[in-house]
């Protein structure tokens, strides 16, 4: 305000554009994308969804393990478990001659997964012995574990255990038996650390080493690696999760895609034609909604009949599509009814647009935003439905893996090997959450566009 010259009061050159627009041009979808990008949760969800799709589609090429292959050395192994194995000679029967006694219960040689060899001295007053094996130390409650052998002869003082040995610490209990076979109190216990071993023949057989590999007895090799562990049949959990993802996502994405497509078709016809046709079509949609979902799914599955070797994926897909389209068709019909009264439809009509053009060029593109949001919300719901049905045993048939059926299998060993339940359940939860958050973000992004028009 201090120094104003006369020059300041000269008229401004009329250089300015009067109807200029400074902001860069953005189409509906570009703008929605820009809004979505700002939404951190939705963006993380989008990456998760992309990651999941990669996991499902590209995963089996990277991780080529057959999901049906059993690894009997490693059953119900949690991820990250030790998988070293020592090469030993082929099994040969135990020659018990020449053992020295007098030291009580002892292990002979190295306790391995091939065999645990025990020797003992007859306990005074015993009429015989029983050997127990426990995975826990023996406490005052005297639960000894599983009985492994019983001898009613004090002369038998050796035992070779070969039953289902794992690389664990076992507690072997030697209990003396009374005259009538009752257990006496003066038991002996020994703690045994079992090492995992394998033979060259076995290792070659399971594909752990090449036949030509020059390995000596006493060398160490690694068993197959299972990053997510194995299930109760020794199948690789990662491979099964990938295969399960294919089933779950195939149904979870395929079914919504199909029923939304049908819903858009059905709803836009009802909405555009209107009148009595609309009434009849919508009452039929109401009828479908009224069908009890679970009952109908079960009946559908039974009537389809899943033969041996069939997975049951297709009947499930059909059932989902048949039952779930009405919601979309209603939504699209409502949209079309609303759009039909918009000025640009009237304008296009007056310009002589044929009906097909009106629907394809004006109406469908303007319902796409809503349809996209519907799909993103329908996907988690379909994934969850599939998982739920498989979980209760009404879904895909074994051995086809799906996240739901894997959870069902995992729940049996939930307390000892929780990873078998946790991984499939985690995948279901993350997928459902990711799609829901993405749907939320999309709705906000697309709605905001709508609001901005006001």
């Amino acid at each position: 305000m201090t120094d104003l010259s006369l020059a300041d009061f000269q008229p401004l050159e009329p250089g300015q554009e009067i109807h200029g627009i400074s902001r860069p041009s953005q189409s509906y979808w570009q703008d929605a994308w820009a809004r979505l990008k700002v939404n951190k949760r939705a963006l993380v969800s989008l990456y998760l969804v992309i990651g999941l799709l990669l996991f499902t589609i590209a995963g089996p090429w990277v991780w080529t393990v057959d999901p049906a292959q059993q690894d009997l050395d490693q059953v119900s192994r949690p991820p990250g478990a030790d998988r070293n194995a020592l090469i030993v000679a082929d099994y040969a029967p135990w020659q018990t001659e020449g053992l020295s006694f007098g030291e009580g219960l002892k292990v002979v040689g190295d306790p391995t997964t091939q065999a645990v060899k025990l020797k003992w001295d007859a306990i005074p007053g015993a009429n015989g012995h029983r050997i127990y094996r426990n995975i826990f130390p023996i406490g005052p409650e005297r639960s000894y574990g599983i009985p492994r052998a019983e001898f009613f002869d004090n002369r038998v003082v050796t035992f070779e255990d070969r039953l289902d040995l794992k690389a664990l610490t076992y507690y072997y209990v030697l209990v003396p038996l009374g005259p009538r076979g009752e257990l006496l109190d003066n038991y002996e216990v020994i703690e045994v650390d079992v090492h995992r071993v394998t033979t060259i023949v076995e290792a070659v057989d399971r594909g752990l080493i090449e036949e030509s590999a020059n390995l000596q007895i006493g060398d160490e090799i690694n068993l197959d690696w299972h990053p997510f562990g194995t299930d109760y049949l020794g199948r690789d959990l990662l491979a099964r999760l990938m295969a399960g993802a294919r089933v779950s996502l195939f149904i979870g994405i395929g079914a919504p895609f199909l029923f939304v497509l049908f819903g858009v078709f059905y709803g836009s016809i009802a909405g555009f034609v209107g009148g009595r046709v609309d009434q009849v079509m919508m009452r039929f949609a109401d009828f479908v909604v009224a069908l009890p979902f679970l009952l109908f799914m079960i009946l559908f599955k039974i009537s389809f009949g899943i033969g041996p070797g069939e997975s049951g994926v297709f009947p499930m897909l059909v059932a989902l599509v048949v039952l779930m389209w009405p919601a979309t068709s209603r939504l699209v019909r409502g949209q079309i009814l609303q759009i039909r009264e918009q000025g640009y439809i009237h304008a296009s009509q007056l310009l002589g647009a044929p009906t097909r053009y009106l629907i394809l060029r004006h109406m469908i593109p303007n319902t796409l935003g809503v349809v996209l949001v519907t799909i993103t919300f329908a996907i988690p719901s379909a994934i969850f439905t599939e998982a739920f049905l498989s979980f209760i045993g009404m879904g895909v048939a074994p051995p086809t893996p799906s996240w739901g059926s894997m959870s069902n299998e995992g729940i049996k060993t939930m307390l000892t090997t929780p990873h078998e339940l946790i991984f499939p359940a985690l995948f279901i939860s993350i997928t459902v959450l990711a799609f829901n958050l993405l749907g939320d973000g999309l709705r906000d992004a697309l709605d905001a566009r709508m609001r901005n028009q006001e």
Binding site: M1, A7, F9, Q10, L12, S22, V38, A448
Partner: protein
Amino acid sequence: MNSAPANSKELLLEVKDLAVEFDTYGGTVQAVRGVNFSVEEGKTLAIVGESGCGKSVTVQSMMGLIPMPPGRITSGSARLKGHEILGRTIVNGKEIRGSEIGMIFQDPMTSLNPTMTIGDQIAEPLQVHRGYSYKKAFAEAIRLLEMSKIPEAAKRARQYPFEFSGGMLQRAMIAMAIACKPSILIADEPTTALDVTIQAQILDLLQDLQKETGMAIILITHDLGVVARMADEVAVMYAGKIVEHGMVDDVFYRSAHPYTLGLKDAMPNNDPSLQHELKPIEGSPPDLFSPPQGCGYTARCPYAMQICSKQQGENTYLTEHHFSRCWLHNSASPNKPDQLYFKEGA
């Protein structure tokens, strides 16, 4: 000429340097950029401007109706009878909203509860603020509806909002706004959604109520006709600032700011002897995401000068109560402001 006039009268409401911003997806919108005005008892101040000029935000921020976030009052004060009300809900033991200042909106439907009868809705604040019994409050509600010239008020009080037409709803809103005898009534585009015949009824009603109760009215509108009909004082807002302020006759017959002149020229003149051309204001208001450095009207102003694009003009008092925020009237300006005055009676 640049000094502010001395306050001769007791001011009911005094707003100073009010500035409000909104954080939006596209950036920060500076909706109100330093607004000053005052309201005298029993008078009507009209705030005129186009959509997006910040006129509604100005009064909403006073009433605490701005959602924060995204809204933000960045500066300013609003004093009601000498007490600061910005950011407060209670002053002198009385609730500002409802008790001290009543408010009516463009769309009464959105500010009424559709599940309560009209009578109950008017009675509720009376029960809360005045401690009336339900019976007394409801009787008072009927009286207020009668004051608002709603026929069959007793019957209407027991009806729900959906049973009312737009004009009747606005009357009910007015009854509700004056229930606690506020000293100021803020009417935010009260007749924009109504037809002219109903608008005339509502404007008559507001004038009658003002005479009866002596309350001041702040009328927000974009319609110069309504301003001419109702206002004592007029503040013309553009791009978040008041560009001209004065008594209604000053602003209409001795318009000083080019925007005010432009608005008048853009409206049809109903003088039968004069077939004048409509002179539109070219272009559109500036983007308040990045308000121009200088005067917001520069790009559309036919009198724009070099200085206008660089620096915002200051309030130049043409008479004691009439100022224009324009460089044309600056003492250093070589352009004679008199040439711009709209001729009286034209």
